[in-house]
């Protein structure tokens, strides 16, 4: 089945130790998104790629970076995780089209714990 895959599902990192979360998709979608979701809150968009074009949200801290080496993979790098970065990180994909919006498909998420 076509899907969005996130690895690992659970990640524990130490305060200040860089961590990378990965996302892959078999949907061949050209748009990939990274969201942060804290308990009892809506997903908050960090950034997205439209093909190779990177689009950062204005309020996303510099501590968060992303890479998309090819259509199928996208990575979220947290350079120096703080306790406040503990959250669920969600990857999503969608088709992209001029003048039309398509639904986003989400992966299962990676639960990040910072100790």
């Amino acid at each position: 089945d076509a899907m969005v895959i996130q690895n690992p599902r659970y990640q524990v990192t130490q305060f200040g130790k860089p961590v990378t979360l990965s996302c892959s998709q078999t949907l061949n979608h050209n748009v990939m998104y990274w969201y942060q979701q804290k308990s009892s809150q809506a997903p908050k968009l960090l950034f997205h790629y439209y093909d190779k074009d990177f689009n950062n949200e204005a309020d996303t801290p510099d501590n968060f970076q992303s890479r998309r080496p090819n259509t199928s993979f996208c990575f979220l790098d947290i350079r120096s995780p703080g306790l406040g970065d503990a959250a669920m990180y969600l990857c999503a994909t969608s088709r992209g089209g001029w003048g039309i919006t398509y639904e986003q498909y989400f992966g299962p998420g990676t639960r990040l714990t910072v100790t």
Partner: protein
């Protein structure tokens, strides 16, 4: 520091009854709307979407209603089942501006057996 989680509004319904989950959106330029279901520990799951040229769309056991005049969106679930218990998010997009979704705060649906 310690963080305090927000408490989402909760809708409690009896199994077998119909559920109506409401959402008020903010941007009058939004032209695409979508409902997601999120179970505990999982990613949001697409339920149904609707574009602004429609005011009603039906899926399997679900119906979405859009009232652009008052900027209101609702999700109706027929014959609610225990498996429908989850947090439900509405989201909106202004296609002319970008491809991003703006999510609402979320509502917890609790189904009583």
């Amino acid at each position: 520091g310690e963080s305090v989680g927000l408490h989402l509004p909760t809708l409690s319904v009896q199994e077998g009854d119909n559920s109506i989950i409401n959402c008020a959106y903010s941007n009058s330029a939004s032209d695409y709307f979508i409902w997601y279901k999120q179970e505990s520990g999982k990613g949001p799951q697409f339920i149904i979407d609707i574009r602004s040229n429609m005011d009603k769309r039906q899926g399997q056991r679900v119906t979405v209603l859009l009232n652009k005049t008052v900027k209101h969106l609702s999700l109706q679930i027929a014959a609610t089942q225990p498996g429908d218990s989850a947090v439900y998010f509405c989201a909106e997009n202004n296609t002319g501006a970008n491809s991003k979704l703006t999510f609402g705060k979320g509502i917890t649906l609790s189904v009583r057996p």
